[in-house]
Structure formats: C-alpha cells, structure tokens
C-alpha cells in the first residue's frame, strides 16, 4: 500500500534466470556443439578400441573418459554461457594469466609423453595441456585491449596485445608447438582485423608470416619434415596421411559400414587428429559433410549475432573465439584431406582429448555468453532521442 500511495519505484524483478537464458542463448550453436559431441562419441566407439587394446585397457576406456570429460565440458559451457560478459572477461583474464604461467613453467614440470614436444602436465588421472586453456583467455584479453584502445584517450591496446601475442607464440614455438603458435597469431589477427586494422598493415603482416614460415622451415627440422611431406607430390602411403586419404577413398559416399573401417587399426592418432578419416571410412561423405555443415552453422550463426553487437569488446572477443574454433576444424579436416600440411590439431568436440574438450567447452561457453541477445541501445540514448 505504501508503495502504491507514495509512488515509490516498483522494483523491476527482471526475468527469471533460466527462461531468460533460454530466450537469449544462441540455440543453434549450443545444439550444434552437443551434436558434435555426440558424433565424437559415436566415432570414438569405432576409433578408440584399437588404442585401448594396445594400451591394455578396456575396449571403451577412451569412450568412457570422453563421456566424462564431455559432460564436464558441456556443463562448463552452459555455466559460462549464463555469465555476464563482464564476469566472463574477468574470469578469462585470470584464466589467461594462470595458463600463461603454466605455459612458461612447462619446460620444468611438463612431460612430452614420448612425442617429442613438451606440451602437457601429468595430473595422474589425466593430462593437462595449458595451451588449450590459454587460447580462449588470450582472445578475451586481446579483445579487451583492442576495445580499450578504441576509447578516446584509451591505452595503446593494439600494441600491447601484439606483444602479448608474439610472446605467447614464442613460448608455444619453443615446445615446439607451431600449430598452436600459428593459431594464437591467427586469433590475434582476426581480432585486429575486425577491430579495424589498416589494410596496408595487414598486407605487411601477411608478408611477415610468409617470411617467418620460411625461416622456421630452414631452422626447425620438425617443421621442415612436415612441410616436405606435404609438398612431395607422391605421398608415401605408409604415413598417417596416406592411410587417411585411403580411408576417405574407401568410405566413398556412404561408408563401408559401422565398425567395418580398417584405418583405425593403422593410424595411431585415429581417435584424435584423424578422427575425420574414421568418420569418412565408416559413414562416408554423408557424415563428413554433415560435420562440416555443423561447423559452418556454428560459425555463421555466431557471426550473424556478433554483427548486430554494438559493444566493441563483445564483438571482438566473440569473433576471435568463433574464428579460433572454426579454423581449428578447418585445419584438422584440411590436413586429413591433404589440403594442408600435417599438423597436430584436434577436431573441436569430436576428437578425443580431455584438455581440448574442456577448453573447448570454456571457449564456446564464453562465446555463448557473448552472443546472447541483449539490448543493443542504451536506454539513455533512446531517451535522449539521438539518432544513432
């Protein structure tokens, strides 16, 4: 009564959290991710038993772990997607700092699992790859710095983020993990591009990348071997690439049948880097094109939402995150079909791998948080009647 009589401001209770979340979330992306995860499990049933057998584990050991990590990843994704962009930014910055420290300390505490590159921490039940967690955090930090730089009298964020990108890339290249280093540079480039990079500078950067690649080719045997393998016209069919190509050919348009594929027995990375070969062999072009379509749907849906976004930070961070995600899929599949040189890169949400799954969950969670529908004009703007 008092409120009615004295006209005190009635508290706008706001929408309940879940309905609001459901209304504003990018449902296309979210369900695409869940679908990808399910496809990954389906393929894991076929692709991972040979490895499990080799390691003396139960046949579906890796599938079980995938379910566990995938569940955690999707849970993380949903929780993250409910956060406000500001909270996401804060957590991402903290996460970036922690994972960067982890990256720096890798040479002292890390392990290489006999694969020739120190990229992991051994955590007993699982291993942790800091670079996977570094990527989303790095994108958010970069976007934040770039957005801040757009403010009048703001900090020189472009320069800072550039140095940050180079530093992180150098640490990654020292592992050596040229794939992630390139991905970091690429992510920074996309953010900078969308933030309004001057075109002459972009051309100069492209030149530098080519030059850097040449130097890496000459100085790193690890790198040169892979490029050579790609450039050699006649592929050695006993390499992973040879088996993968053959598997895709075997599969044809409709596949050889569930569980009938042979490539998983020959490829040590059938469940991670070459999962698309397993998909192509057992389910054919049908499933592969479906997977490609899902990735394209995620990327396009996110971009359309981000185009409308007026907040520079959200726009930049979202674009960076979805580009990283999309390009990772491009690289993974491009390698399997021999469009790109061999590069260890997981297929997001489909490949087996705890770190990559959970980091992917975090990244997509952030993306979902950024692409939620939100009022794009300040009420004050509207009230002031300024034409925007």
């Amino acid at each position: 009564m008092t409120e009615m009589v004295y006209g005190s401001i009635s508290v706008e209770r706001g929408e309940p959290i879940l309905p609001k979340w459901w209304r504003t979330i990018d449902k296309v992306t979210m369900f695409s991710i869940i679908l990808l995860f399910c496809i990954g499990l389906l393929l894991g049933f076929a692709a991972s038993p040979p490895l499990a057998e080799k390691n003396g584990l139960a046949p579906f050991h890796y599938v079980e772990r995938q379910v566990l990590f995938g569940g955690m990843a999707i849970f993380t994704m949903i929780i993250m997607s409910m956060m406000s962009p500001k909270l996401v930014r804060r957590l991402a910055v903290i996460g970036f700092v922690i994972s960067f420290i982890g990256l720096v300390l890798l040479p002292y505490f890390g392990t290489d699992f006999g694969k020739g590159a120190v990229r992991w921490y051994r955590l007993g039940f699982a291993s942790l790859q800091p670079s996977e967690f570094l990527k989303p955090g790095f994108i958010v930090v970069t976007a934040w710095l770039m957005a801040a730089a757009q403010e009048i009298n703001g900090p020189p964020g472009r320069m800072w983020s550039f140095f940050l990108a180079v530093t992180v890339a150098i640490f990654l290249a020292l592992q050596p993990d040229f794939g992630q280093a390139c991905l970091i540079i690429f992510g920074w480039g996309v953010v900078y591009f969308v933030a309004g990079a001057p075109l002459p500078l972009l051309v100069g950067m492209a030149t530098m990348v080519v030059g850097g690649g040449t130097i890496a080719y000459q100085w790193s045997e690890h790198f040169a071997r892979r490029i050579d393998g790609f450039l050699s016209p006649e592929i050695d069919p006993r390499t992973q690439l040879g088996y993968a190509t053959n598997a895709i050919q075997e599969g044809g348009f409709f596949g050889v049948g569930v569980g009938e594929g042979q490539v998983k027995w020959s490829l040590p990375d059938a469940h991670t880097d070459f999962i698309i070969a397993v998909a192509a062999e057992e389910y054919g072009f049908v499933l592969v094109s479906a997977i490609i379509a899902i990735y394209a749907a995620i990327v396009l849906s996110s971009f359309i939402r981000l185009m409308r976004e007026r907040d520079p930070f959200i726009r930049l961070a979202g674009t960076g995150l979805v580009s990283m995600f999309g390009v990772q899929a491009v690289i993974n599949m491009g390698v399997a079909v021999r469009l790109l040189p061999a590069k260890g890169m997981t297929l997001p949400f489909v490949s087996y791998g705890g770190s990559s799954l959970i980091a992917g969950g975090i990244a997509i969670g952030m993306l979902l948080a950024f692409t939620r529908v939100r009022p794009q004009r300040d009420i004050s703007d509207i009230l002031s009647g300024r034409k925007i």
Binding site: G196, A280, A296, P312, K387
Partner: protein, 596 residues
Amino acid sequence: MSDTSLRTPLRPLSRILPARARGENTDQIEKDNIRKRHEQDREMGRATAQSRIILVGLIFVCLYLIIAVRVAALSASEASEPRTYTAGSSIVEQRRDIVDRKGRILATNMNTYSLYVEVPHLVDPVGTAKALADVFPDLDQERLIKDFTGKRKFLWIKKKLSPEQKQAAHDIGDPGLRFGPREMRLYPNGKLAAHVMGGASFGKEGVAAAEVIGVAGVEKTFDQALRDPSLSGKPLQLSLDLSVQAAMEQVLYGGMKLMNAKGAAGVLMDVHTGEVISIVSLPDFDPNQRPHPPVEGHPDDSPLFNRSVQGVYELGSTFKIFAVAQAMDLGLIDPETMIDTKGPIKWGRFRINDFHNYGNQLTASKVIEKSSNIGTARIAQMIGTDRQQEFLRKLGLLDPIEFEMIEASGGKPLLPPKWSDLSTMTISYGHGLSTTPLHLAAGYAAIANGGHKVTPTLIKTSTPTLGPRVMSENTARQSVDMLRRVVTEGTASLGNVEGYAVAGKTGTADKPDPRGKYYKDKVIATFATIFPADEPKYALVVTLDEPTDTTGPEPRRTAGWTAVPVAAEVISRVAPLLGLRPRIESQESAAISQSE
C-alpha cells in the same frame, strides 16, 4: 542532425570560447564533445567490423566448401591399396630360380604354408588331434593327443601344406591351429636332372618365414649365390638342356632295364666349351622329396649316389685311345705303324691277354679298332711311365674335377698306389686307374675339339673357352678317324647312327670285388663317343653298371652288346634336339658318283 555527417571537431572551440567568455565551466562541453566523438568512432568501427565479420564469415564458408568438395572428390575416387612405391616392387623370390640353357624352369619357389599348433589356444585339443590325424594319415593320433594335452606350448605339425591340406586343416576350425607362410623350393620337372638339382630343405624356421637352403647338387654349390639378394630376380642358368636331359634319361632308363643293369650313367658334353648338356645317373630320385641317406647297404646303390660324377670305375678299353694318341703325338708311331700283338705279355706272374688272338702284328689303327690289350700295352711301353702320367694329368684324368656339383669332389680318381711299369701297361687299356664317366667325357672332348683340354662346367657359357693344348691338331684328327673306324668296322658296329658319323670306343671292365679280385660276371660297360666325326661337336659317355644282354643264346656283357646300342639310341634321340643335321655318308655318295 548534421553532426553525424560532419566530423566532430577535436575540441568544440566554437562552443568553448563563447562559454569561457561567459565565465562558464567548459569541462561539461569538452566531455560532451568527447562522448560525441566516441559515439561517432563507435559507429564507424561498428560499420567496419560488420563488413569485416561478413568477410571473415565468407572466407570460412569458402574454406568449408573447399574441404567438402575435396572430401567428395576423394570419396568419388577409387581407393588404392596402401603399398610401398619403391623401385622394382615386383614379387621377388627369396631364392633365385634355376633355369636350363634355354630358360626353362628347373627349380623355382612356391608359396605355401606350414602348420603349427599353439597349444594354449586350442579349444578342443583331443578333437583337434583326431581331426588332424584324419587329414594327415601319417600323423600319430595318440602322440598328438599327448602333445596337445601336455605341457608343450608350441609344436610344428607340417612344414609344407598343399592347398587342399591347408583347407582341410582350416576347416577343423580350431584357433590353436596356425599357418605360417612359407616359400618352398619346387622342382616342376620332378625326377629330371635330380642329381644336378640335389634338393633344398628348410634351415632356420620361424612362424613367419623359413630359410631355404640347398642340401646337394647345384643348390648346395651355389647356395650363397642363389640367396644373394643383390642378384634376386635373375635366374641361375645352367648348361643343361631340359629336353635333351629328358630324352637321355628316358633312353638310359630303358637301356638299363633291357640290359638288366643295376645302374646307368651318361654324360653329354659340348666339346668346345665343356658345357655339360646332359648328365644322368640312374636310379634317381625326386628332389622335391629328397630321400634320406641310406643307413644300410652299399652307399653306391642308393639313388642319391651320382654315378656320373661320384662313381669311379675302371673304364676299360675306352682309355686305349689316350695311349695311341700320345704315342702319335710324340712321333713314336703313326696310324699305320705295325705293333707287336703276339701274346701273352708276361710280367712277373702277371699276364696280359687279348679277348681274341689278333695274330702277331696289327697296325696302330687296328689296335684301336680291334681293341687289343697287348698292342696298347706295347705302345704304353714305348711312351714310358712318366710321360704317360704327365699326359693323363694334362687331360685332367688324375685329379678330381672342379665341377659345379658339390658331389664332384668325391669323384677322385683312384690311382695305383705305386705307378710301376706294369701299371703303365694296364692303365693304357683302362685297368688299374678308376675315373668317373665325367672324366672320360672330358678326355674324349679334348680329342674331339682338336687337342685342347676341356674343363666340364654346368654353367651356360656363350664363348668357347679353349684350355691349354694337350696334343696336336693332327693327332686329334687321326685319333677321331681311328675312333670312327671302331664304329664302322670294329667293336662298336651297333653304335652307328645313320647320318651322325658316330666315332667312339667301347670299354668293358670287370668289376673289382671287395676282396681285391675281379668278378667274373660283373662288368662296367662303357661306350665313349664323339659325334659327328667329321666335325666333332659333342662327346657322349654311356656307362652301364652290371649289364647282361640275355637276348642271345648265352649272356653277353661286353660293351659292344650293351652300352653301344643304348648310346646309339641316345644319339639318334638327342642329335635332332641338339640341332644337328643328319648327313648322308660320304661313301654312299661316292658309290653313286662311280656308277655314273
């Protein structure tokens, strides 16, 4: 409003200056100006970002399309089996083939499987043992059951399986039965040239593969060369001619049966190159299933024994030509020199006699023609021990032949312990010196090719390799003429083959018995020939072991009745195969020209 189209000034001096003049605080105006500029930047940034996001999105769409198209193209293309594209990735055998002089296969490899059992994997050991015993009747069922239920973990069942046997073992269906791939040596011609091939067996054996090693014959002699990976794919070519070998084996087998002989040997040699075209020893065996060496009886009676290169025999009168040829070469005699053949020659308590009494004197040519022991012994006396020994050594009759069969080293000629003057005389007619038929063929080849030493070989050679001269060409020619007369007028009249001008010398030697004496009714009958006599190309030696021709009223054992007809049949069969054109004998054409 117009300020969206016009650029907002950095400082709105037009508003600040009047305000300052009015004494108002200008901070608010500056703030307002910054906000405006900011909004303008944002709008411009947003427009740029929007277009650039569209651009990035388009790039992504293109990338995904490219990948999709690429996957579709790969899916539509034909899959190729992953294989190594190394140079010459054809099927290369583990062991080289052996072929004859015309490239026909004598020995090759075949893929087969061995059968072994991993006992821990057997599902039904007793049932499997019974089923195996059914498939392979030579296996002992009780023993298998004992092995399968005992402590053994692994055992070999069969080293080679035929496809039918493999299927039968497979059909048993027990997972403990395993097949190991094998490359086995195969002699597709069976018994043909069995002694030359020798045979092969498995060396080191593993589950995945087994080593094939030669155990005898050329397989053993050339074992390393046959296994040399650098020569892989190139067959080993022998001098043998498969069809000649087949014809000769067939004729010799028939001859051996007709003449009731227990064994036969034959050597056919190219007199210019020493290439052995055919070499036969009967009885023989199948190198695909080489028998085990005999544990009882005389080793010479085993089919494994090679009479041609291992068997040393006193080859009798065939040796006479060497004494006569040497005497002619030394100028001691010529074909018409009269030789004293009055017998017997007494030497201590030893007597040298002839088969028939040929009178007091014969020409040297007739000595050969009639095969007079006394005449030859007289000629040997003229030559003397040292010169005879030297000549026989130059012909290669006193040393083992370095032949490409591992067994040849066993064919060491047996020389008299003390080469006395009596030995000289007996050796001149082929007693007291034992050699192999191969030695004899090499000796005759030397006469046939015009006097050059011949080293027999089993490897095909393209160019004639003349050894050192052992006699003059004239001597060789005269010797061949003498040998020709043996066939036309002498002891080997059954050896005449129309059109091939056979020249040769018979030899019948009593076999020594174990007590050091000679059997009365056991002989080695030999016919050593050269053909065609007018232009000798081939030397052939046929030896029959213990032949008896029972077709006549009394058993005949001399070479003229036994070895000679067999050799004649061999020549009539193989000469066309060797590409020799039969010639009308010159005498007949002379008769025709006279009648004109």
